[in-house]
């Protein structure tokens, strides 16, 4: 029995929901791995905040061109059909609702769809990047996150405690234990790990999990 999904496995699961032809922005860090797991026959087009649409995979090490990077400052490559544009046009794509999916990391997600993923509080150097723009732009805003913190505390809550990135913006959560939609201010459970009871999952969740139709098994290969 799988105790919890790895970040790679969460990325795999999130990738299964991306439709052919979708325009997708992947947040810095774990969400970037989603690009590796596109199902065969589907062609998603990836957007990066720094002005590229339709870029390709990482280059062979040693062949990087540092003018060809993604928002995480990692080198990427050209593909036929790649387009470059400036930052205002890039965020016109985001804010204007032209992206189909944005997949981001999270510190906390509330049943209201509120997201906290940019600041852990007043200590340290604050940095926001494009997160506050992305949460309001894409048609679907999904989150990849461990279901609980390293200390075992719930990250899915009735209200976020940490500073918000956006209000009422998250539509789906791919956690290490479950797939949960956010609808009408409620967490609606769609999938959970086989072998994990609903009660156990509820105990690890800081807000009520609602059911709306069948809950299916969250089964992910070892990737």
């Amino acid at each position: 029995m799988t105790l919890k999904l790895t970040p790679t496995q969460m990325a795999w699961r999130a990738a299964q929901d991306i439709q052919d032809g979708a325009y997708v922005n992947l947040g810095i860090g774990f969400p970037e791995m989603v690009a590796r797991f596109q199902p065969p026959g589907r062609e998603a087009i990836f957007h990066t905040e720094n002005g590229i649409l339709g870029f390709g995979e990482a280059p062979v090490p040693g062949t990087e061109d540092w003018d060809l990077i993604n928002a995480g400052k990692k080198a990427v490559t050209l593909k036929p059909g790649t387009a470059f544009f400036h930052h205002a046009d890039s965020f016109a794509m985001v804010r204007g609702g032209h992206l189909d999916v944005a997949i981001l990391g999270a510190y906390e997600v509330a049943e209201t769809g509120d997201l906290a993923n940019w600041s852990t509080g007043p200590k340290g150097v604050p940095a926001v990047g494009g997160a506050m723009d992305l949460v309001h732009g894409a048609k679907q805003v999904a989150v990849i996150t461990d279901h609980v913190t390293k200390d075992g505390k719930p990250k899915l809550l009735t209200r976020c405690i940490l500073p918000l990135t956006g209000v009422g913006c998250v539509t789906r959560v791919y956690s290490s234990l479950a797939v949960i939609d956010i609808q009408g201010g409620r967490f609606v459970l769609r999938e959970k790990l086989p072998g994990l009871s609903l009660d156990d999952l509820q105990n690890l969740t800081g807000a009520r999990l609602h059911l709306d139709g069948a809950v299916t098994d969250l089964t992910v290969p070892e990737v």
Binding site: D20, G21, Y23, E43, I45, H47, L53, G54, L78, K79, P80, G81, T82, A83, F84, F85, A88, D89, F91, A92, M93, V94, R95, G96, G97, H98, L99, H136, G137
Partner: protein, 244 residues
């Protein structure tokens, strides 16, 4: 992903009664004549689409393109900056007889409202039109000692656009000053349909020179030798052609 559409009729099939349709071009340059005429063909065959709200810089010239669309009675309202042309008789007659509504917008404000629609900016402030009749009933605010008028975004159900080259991903280039409003309208419409002179393979356009990235485009139809409104008007053409 393949956004190419086989023919003009299919390309405009989604335009329905009552929709807001942005039509690219500045005068005849960049005007998607063939897409407009395809709309007219459908209207004449089926009675639809009608009651359209059209956004364009102008109001048509002669009896082809946008002027022909208006002449058919398909347009309920026009949002434009300059409803005059060498031969504006079609719009002028309908306007003066109360058959078409006009929302007059300064040209730069029109461009910026369309861009705002595409960029998710619901409102912005501009010095343009402050203190004039065109600012009537609009909120005004002072920034750094100067007065500005609040303007709202403009969006559309459809955009009909003329580009030069395109690929199946919807990436586009334009031809000289035929660019004008076309790239902005691509951004501001729920569905953007583009006629291009030639469809090239992905990678056939220089990624540095793509003006409209494909994310803003939903359909691309090839029209190899597009009609130019100015040429049609010099030949005194009408659409549909006068009966032989």
């Amino acid at each position: 992903m393949d956004k190419t559409v086989a023919d003009l009729a299919s390309a405009v099939a989604g335009v329905r009664d009552g929709m807001t349709v942005m039509i690219g071009g500045f005068g005849g340059s960049g005007a998607p004549i063939e897409l407009i005429h395809a709309l007219i063909d459908r209207f004449r065959a089926t009675g639809s689409p009608k009651d359209l709200t059209v956004v364009n810089n102008n109001a048509g010239n002669g009896h082809v393109g946008l002027a022909a669309l208006i002449e058919q009675g398909m347009v309920r309202k026009l949002i434009c900056s300059f409803p005059r042309s060498a031969d504006p008789v079609v719009f002028t007659d309908r306007y003066q007889s109360g058959q078409i509504e006009l929302e007059l917008v300064p040209q730069g404000t029109l461009a910026e409202r369309i861009r705002a629609g595409g960029a998710g900016i619901p409102a912005f402030y501009t010095p343009t039109s402050f203190g004039t009749d065109l600012a009537k009933d609009k909120p005004v605010a002072v920034f750094e000692g100067r007065s500005y008028v609040q303007e709202r975004w403009l969006k559309a159900d459809f955009a009909l656009v003329k580009a030069h080259l395109g690929d199946r991903l919807g990436n586009l280039t334009y031809r000289m000053a035929a660019r004008n409003f076309n790239p902005l309208m691509c951004m501001a419409a729920a569905t953007t349909i583009v006629q291009v002179s030639r469809i090239v393979a992905p990678g056939g356009l220089d990624p540095e020179a793509i003006i409209t990235p494909g994310i803003f485009v939903q359909g691309v139809v090839e029209v190899p030798h597009p009609l130019q409104e100015e040429d049609l008007n010099r030949a005194r053409a009408t659409y549909p052609e006068a009966a032989a």
